[in-house]
Symmetry: C2
Subunit: 329 residues, 2 copies
């Protein structure tokens, strides 16, 4: 139901489970009482408030994983995740008004003009998964590559073979990387990484992984390392892998730390940039490539379930039986 | 004395005391036995080894603060501080051969073709101080600005009003920054910062300092913050000052830590790049501006002493009576 003139009501056509949704699922982040969850969804505008200017009922829209107004200084700087009026899905906003979450049937979208991006048409069943990745994982992989400074001719290593890491492979190639080394120990994910443009696969981790990456590149580490996990080990592996003067682009939610080793960074001139991805900033650009078929990130979905089987969607990802689950009404 | 065919023998015309030289001076870093010190010097080539191709006796040369061969992959990447054959001044190299230090009369310079940069002429007394800054502080300030991504129109804050911080002000303006806020509590350093192009001065530190910087910029932090100190407090101030999506360029030698707060960086998308400055990489470019008079970084020297009064040169810097001391033979 519309509650503010800047709201839109969206009927959810597809949503998905994010790796970060697994934290409360696993109890790592305690949940005090039952609440709505999910921050990745696409759908059709059913109704708009009186103040909405750019959207109309019937349009197919993508909702990035955070609400943003698109007009504050931080949005204008392309950092929509730091929007002065930002809020998340499934919680109260700054004024205490509850925002719906994406794993449901209808969602009230605040600041609809800023938050939602209308697609050129309603995607068909083949295109739908790729459009759905624009809500989070494709934009997040892109943010990792962009933060690390990937460009034409770059040599890149990607740490993490989840949906974000796999999308980071796409993003790195899309930005012109010449070599993209995917670090993965799972055959099916290795295959998908190759399909997405990875030129090499390294199964080793830690020191051995860093050494294997250097060996592939003639003894010099990659220009950029995309850290798409968020653990102490994955960040250290990323820092150890990059060549002197290289850069780590990180988008893995830091799982309780650790802090970064500043003395190592000082000695090696390896920088660390990135963070929570402002996927809204690049959504139009990435959408154009999805609609043209230039990129097909939707292949990360290897499990599709109706919304009433959402429990299995979580379980399959938790047990690493699925890379990513898509939920249909 | 020439010991390898790639050596040059340089008669020191001027050298200086670096902030980092104060560490062993203060006993923060213990020194086991008397040793030569100093890594910032300029002079005249007296003799070259048989394998030296680009230098000849009589040339006036600048020695960056580290030895590098100029040909290894890291040098070609512009990260001469990670040269595969790098060594410092005043210690043994990889093969155990002792390298002279700069605060002396003559220095044997290893890998002379890679390490030394010949100036177009012998600088006169007015130009000498600025040429001397090319050995370290001007290049280090430049590295901070470059690592942070300063460019045309940037808003910049500089943390640290030592010689490096003051040179970082020059560097930021030189790269096109529109606003440069120097953080300093010392009247003479504030004045020099203004002379170097700082548009604003903030005397507050910590949270108050960060707030004062934001206030000057309409409530949004600077695009880049140049961290030229190296303490826990200065790095935290830098991270707290930058706008979301901004970047800290750090060149202050980390004084025993701390580690960087990765969760804060994740939430704000403030990146951290920089490290020990490969001043060799940009020496020709900066030298051109010194010789043309476009920049006059030599003003950071506010104390000139003969080499035999080196003890006072250290004491004056240690007690913050001098920004930076220049030593003449």
């Amino acid at each position: 139901m519309i509650q503010r003139p800047t709201d839109a009501l969206v009927r959810v056509v597809a949503s998905c489970v994010c790796g970060s949704d697994l934290w409360p699922y696993r109890g790592v982040r305690p949940t005090a009482e039952p609440r709505r969850i999910g921050h990745e969804f696409v759908g059709v505008v059913e109704e708009v408030g009186a103040g909405v200017r750019t959207l109309r009922p019937g349009q197919f829209v993508v909702a990035p994983f955070m609400v943003s107004d698109g007009t504050c200084p931080h949005c204008r700087n392309g950092v929509h995740t730091s929007c002065e009026r930002s809020s998340g899905w499934g919680g109260p906003d700054a004024e205490g008004l509850f925002t719906d979450a994406g794993q449901g049937e209808y969602v009230r979208v605040p600041l609809a003009d800023g938050t939602l991006v209308a697609m050129p048409d309603h995607p068909d069943a083949d295109l739908l998964p790729s459009v759905l990745t624009l809500t989070d994982v494709m934009g997040t992989g892109h943010h990792a590559a962009l933060s690390a400074g990937v460009g034409p001719g770059s040599t890149v290593a990607v740490v993490g073979d989840g949906a974000v890491g796999l999308c980071a492979v796409i993003a790195a190639r899309r930005l012109g990387a010449e070599r993209v080394i995917a670090m993965s120990r799972h055959a099916s994910r290795q295959a998908l990484a190759r399909e997405f443009g990875a030129t090499d696969i390294v199964a080793e981790r830690g020191d051995e992984g860093a050494a294997a990456v250097r060996d592939l590149l003639g003894g010099v580490g990659p220009d950029q390392v995309l850290e798409c996990v968020g653990t102490k080990e994955s960040m250290q592996q990323a820092l150890d892998s990059a060549r002197p003067g290289g850069r780590v682009g990180f988008v893995g939610v830091p799982a309780g730390g650790p802090e970064l080793p500043v003395s190592q960074m000082f000695a090696t001139n390896v920088g660390v940039c990135g963070g929570v991805a402002p996927v809204r900033a690049h959504l139009e650009e990435l959408a154009a490539d999805v609609w043209s078929g230039a990129i097909v990130p939707g292949k990360v979905f290897d499990l599709v379930l109706p919304l009433d089987q959402v429990a299995e969607a979580y379980a399959a990802m938790d047990e690493r039986r699925a890379i990513k689950s898509m939920l249909l009404p």
